[in-house]
Amino acid sequence: MSGRVLVGVKRVIDYAVKIRVKPDNSGIVTDGVKHSMNPFCEIAIEEAVKLKEKKLIKEVVAVSCGPQQSQETIRTALAMGADRGIHVEVTGKDYEALGPLQVSKIMAALAKKEDAQLIILGKQAIDDDCNQTGQMTAALLDWPQGTFASEVALEGDKVKVVREIDGGLETIKINTPAVVTADLRLNTPRYATLPNIMKAKKKKIANMKPADLGVDLTSRLEVLRVDEPPQRQAGVKVETGGGPGGQTEGGRDDIEASGARRGAQNYADGTL
């Protein structure tokens, strides 16, 4: 086994920023907005570096797909302990259309090229919330996948993954090479130390284009429109009919008529 782990890191709008939709509804405003590494990718890097410190793997390679600025994100990964970086340059329209399908093709190609033993990704990115890249990468490579990991243990040529699922915790054992996606409670990412930030300057970041990997970036999706969630409507008070037994037929009609049910559907306006 090569002992090499690929970790995908994505440059996203910083979690603390309150985002705004572009006036032409074509997307989100990104110019001049603070960006940083996707929090789940930080957790993925931390897990890989921990494995290296336990001497269970030999090398951590941080990968990012995007424009020139993606190199900042790779540098942060290097400052946290990754050994080297790979920047797959994707710009302009290709970058706007870049989604999990394209990234997973790139990761699959790199996994073969770098003879990776393990791929660790964040479970999802906080900008698109797709939660697809890890799964698609595993499918393209025909590798097993351990997603939503809250614990990862390398045992010989297998990986034991404790997954956070709706019903609780599920423990699975999968063969390597494998894809693991990191969930929130997997670890607490370390702060980069000042000496490590300086050492990161000397670590190498290789540049390549998707064409070098034989990857076709054509998107099967087209974003038609981006809107803010609808403003939360005020609730409506209705007269209740009937006695202490509860609603009468008439009462329910009143509630429907007043659009209160519509309001309830609107409650999920959520946060972006």
């Binding site: 603390a16 907005v33 940083s36 900042e72 980069a192 130390t193 000042l194 000496p195 930030i197 300086m198």
Partner: protein
């Protein structure tokens, strides 16, 4: 009545602008891409340092800042965590455990840390100053003996220059150090020593020779040395996360091997240390002012009076703009002074004094204004703005009063002719 119509049109236009302004700048305390963003003009590497410091401040310091102030706790564990990241000896050489960064890197880091807790960051900066003095003026044996523990904050340091009888007139200090064989016998007392009583290593300026600056030497005194004792813990308006005590020396015997540099070099060492110290303290003021501008901005967007948010009030808009302008101007002079000091420029000392004078004064006014903008809430200890005001008030006094800063600058101007 007719005259009011154009005014109301202007009012609507202004509130329209204000709404757009809110759309662009409605962000949280993390200083995101606005005109006061402290990341402007920094290299990528400096931005990385700044990010670590901001994250550490937000996660490890800000949640405890009020408690440390109220309970007067010296947060040893948090500071040691900071030291693990390299903040214990930021501009100390790497061969003795320091991070070997520049003065500008240091200023950026302290500015960011200060947004989490001014008092603790200010102490960390004093500790750094002492570690640097030993690193720069100590011989190999002294550097190896003291610096590694200071950089890891295994041990903490204090800077002892001021005495009850000599503050601004530092060169008139009276603590004596009489040579007896291979020891100096120290007698005297130091006042207002940050960390005093809780720290392990004391960098003490004392008189080995005649009157004036040329008779002063610098000695490192370790806690536990017989004859070293401390006064009561002072009760202060701010800086409460660090203890302040008098340091009392009564026939305290300190080996000659603990002397930094030559006899008579002490005042020079003290002043060189203070140049950096002044940039650090000014940087702490910058961080506090930055946090307060954010707090004021957030408050203006939320608080409503007379049917609209305070952010629609032109006086407050203009006041906020003035605060932002003074903040950026202060930041620029502090960073320029840091660069000048790093490059050993001839104007470095004067620039450090100018930067300390300007930044500490302006930033205090910014924080004070921010408190005013909060109205009655600003006066409550539930709100952080009052702690920033209390904590940075002393920056206009210590490491050389702002009056002494004026002395330094005027001397530079008037002796040139």
């Amino acid at each position: 009545m007719a005259a009011l119509r154009p005014l109301s049109r202007i009012g609507r236009l202004a509130s329209g602008i204000c709404r757009n302004h809110r759309l662009i700048c409605d962000t949280r305390r993390r200083g995101v891409a606005s005109c006061v963003d402290p990341a402007h003009g920094l290299t990528d590497e400096q931005k990385e340092f700044q990010k670590v410091a901001f994250d550490f401040a937000a996660n490890e310091m800000a949640p405890h800042m009020a408690e440390w102030d109220e309970k007067e706790m010296f947060p040893v564990e948090t500071m040691r965590k900071a030291a693990q990241l390299g903040f214990g000896g930021i501009y100390v050489q790497p061969d003795v455990g320091g991070s070997g960064l520049s003065r500008l890197d240091t200023s950026v880091i302290f500015e960011a840390l200060s947004t989490g807790c001014v008092s603790t960051t200010a102490y960390i900066s004093i500790h750094n100053m002492c570690a640097w003095m030993i690193d720069t003026f100590g011989n190999t044996e002294q550097r190896e003996r003291f610096c590694p523990d200071l950089c890891s904050m295994e041990k903490f340091a204090s800077y002892c220059l001021t005495e009850p009888g000599s503050g601004s007139d530092a060169a008139s200090l009276l603590t004596t150090a009489q040579l007896k064989g291979d020891h100096y016998i120290l007698n005297g007392s130091k006042a207002f020593i940050s960390g005093g009583g809780d720290t392990d290593v004391y960098v003490v300026m004392c008189r080995t020779g005649g009157k004036g600056p040329k008779g002063i030497s610098c000695l490192v005194v370790e806690k536990g040395t017989p004859g070293l004792s401390f006064g009561k813990k002072e009760k202060k308006v701010g800086w409460n996360s660090q203890p302040t005590r008098a340091v009392i020396l009564e026939d305290c015997a300190v080996p000659v091997t603990n002397r930094l540099g030559e006899e008579g070099q002490g005042f020079n060492i003290a002043m060189k240390g203070l140049n950096g110290g002044r940039i650090n303290i000014a940087s702490c003021s910058l961080g506090a002012a930055h946090a307060c501008v954010q707090l004021a901005r957030d408050h203006l967007l939320v608080r409503k009076q007379f049917g609209e948010t305070l952010s629609n009030n032109q006086f407050l808009q203009f006041k906020l703009a003035e605060m932002a302008t003074k903040l950026v101007a202060s930041r620029l002079i502090v960073r320029e002074a840091a660069t000048a000091l790093q490059e050993n420029r001839s104007d470095a000392s004067s620039l450090c004094a100018m930067a300390k004078l300007f930044a500490t004064d302006e930033c205090f006014n910014i924080c004070n204004q921010a408190l005013q903008m909060h109205g009655g809430y600003g006066y409550l200890k539930d709100y952080a703005v009052q702690q920033f005001v209390r904590d940075i008030r002393v920056h206009q006094i210590l490491e050389g009063t702002n009056e002494v800063m004026r002395m330094i600058v005027s001397r530079n101007l008037l002796t040139e002719s």
